[in-house]
Amino acid sequence: MSDSKGSDKSKKNKKKKEKEPDITFFHPELLEIPEDGSPAYLKGYKCKKCGQLDFPKLTPCPSCWGTDFEMVKLSRKGKLYSVTDIYIGQPGMKTPYMFGYIDLPENLRIFAQMEGEIGSFKCDEEVELTTGTIRTNMDGLPVTSYKFTKPSV
């Protein structure tokens, strides 16, 4: 949705400022938004030594201290384990916003913001990956990242 916007702004930003601009995409190691328009996906990392799959990437593998990983595309749909609506948030973040724990079939739990109407999410409902603005960076620009929302019908 806002993937192209995000990269445009980061390009503009680079021209405008001499100092290192703050990030507008969080984060290439966590999330891929393919340029061909196919659906975005989260990136899991499978340890080549012991096979443990982690998100986010942990280096070294906390299970066997392996340092070689294979990227695995994670499922786009999962189950919302729990959720909350935040009315007093982090400094500088607009409220209300929502976040929750999403359990993926790969036996991974993702902490992410929810996209949709405040108060509309319930425990155990199915949700789907989307992308959007999660916060504003230090240059005042939107940061694009992964979010979860109600599945498109």
């Binding site: 969080f26 729990s82 959720v83 909350t84 609506d85 982090q90 991974l108 739990r109 902490f111």
Partner: protein, 389 residues
Amino acid sequence: MKMQREVFIAGVGETVFGKHNVDYDVLGRQAAFQALQASNIDRPDVVQTAYVGNGLNGMGAAQRVFRDLGMCGKLAIIRVESACSAGAMAVYSAIKDVTTGVADISIGVGCENHTMHRATGTAFAMGMDDVEGMQGAVMTGKYAMRANRYMHETGATIEDLAMITVKNRKHATNNPHAWFKGDISVEAIVNSRMIAYPLTLQQCCGISDGAGAVIVCSKEMVKKLGIEKPVKVAGAVVQSGPYHNRPRDITGDDITESSAQQLYEESGIGPEEVDIVELHDAFTIAELLYYECLGMCKKGDGLKYLRDGQSTYGGQCVFSPRGGMLSYGHPIGASGAAQIAANVKQLRGECEGYQVDPIPKVALSHVTGGGLGGTEHAACTMHMLTKAW
């Protein structure tokens, strides 16, 4: 920790908690001075090592606490930090010195001033290098998710959660150290400002300032100082929170459960023998979950335990007799030490107006710390204290 020799608490101190116009070092010094005097110590060269728990008040904080007491230059003073667990961890460190023989007498202080240093209207959050932090995580929200899941699974309501605040504020009614105290209705709690659904303002600990101090020593030192009511440290535990990125039950709390198990084993005292508990009731839901995690009741029976009055006067075990964090507020570096100070005063029967009756003989304290992404808590510190006179 494995105790190598017996350790006793000689004296404790705690400030009034609330909004203070003096900084953390003044508060820490007030609590430390009270504890020194309560331990019959009348000069600055008696205590041999010192630990100061403090979260956010800058560098060199530990030594500043002791400067005006004339103690700097006479002993090693070490700062301890683990977010909300810092104060208890300072006391743990002092106990460790005494049980190992590094020192015969040591002091643990927890102190913090938030209101002079923090902007209001924002919530405590994880750092920006944390994936959860980038996504907007705040501690209130992490507890709110535990509450939502608990309500989803058990049918508990916001009104049930509010009963924790009602109980703890009632316990604090006559406690001069507590900030928010006395009668408050379930309705007023439920209708207070929403912070993180379902947690309303009156279900969250206040951002406050304060300090607590605890002096621990060997058996010989108890005699030398002439301590009439020594309190024995029957157990002291610090654990770090296991990392998780997989589905798990957040209506439990792995680190609290495993720390409690270690404490019960090492002290030889089971949950059924504990008379009072000060725990990490930073939010209402926490106390409810921890009844179960501490083994005070069966998994899933926390709500029944509360409704049956088992956690207040006349019940199986009085939880938060000082009023807990819901009454004191939660200066993160201070709380853990202040809990221990309050427990010692209860065991000694010194809590006029809020003394648990009959006077308790066994007291437990529990405080977690930090919200590192992937853990419920970065740390957990627990202490078991018993009457020893």
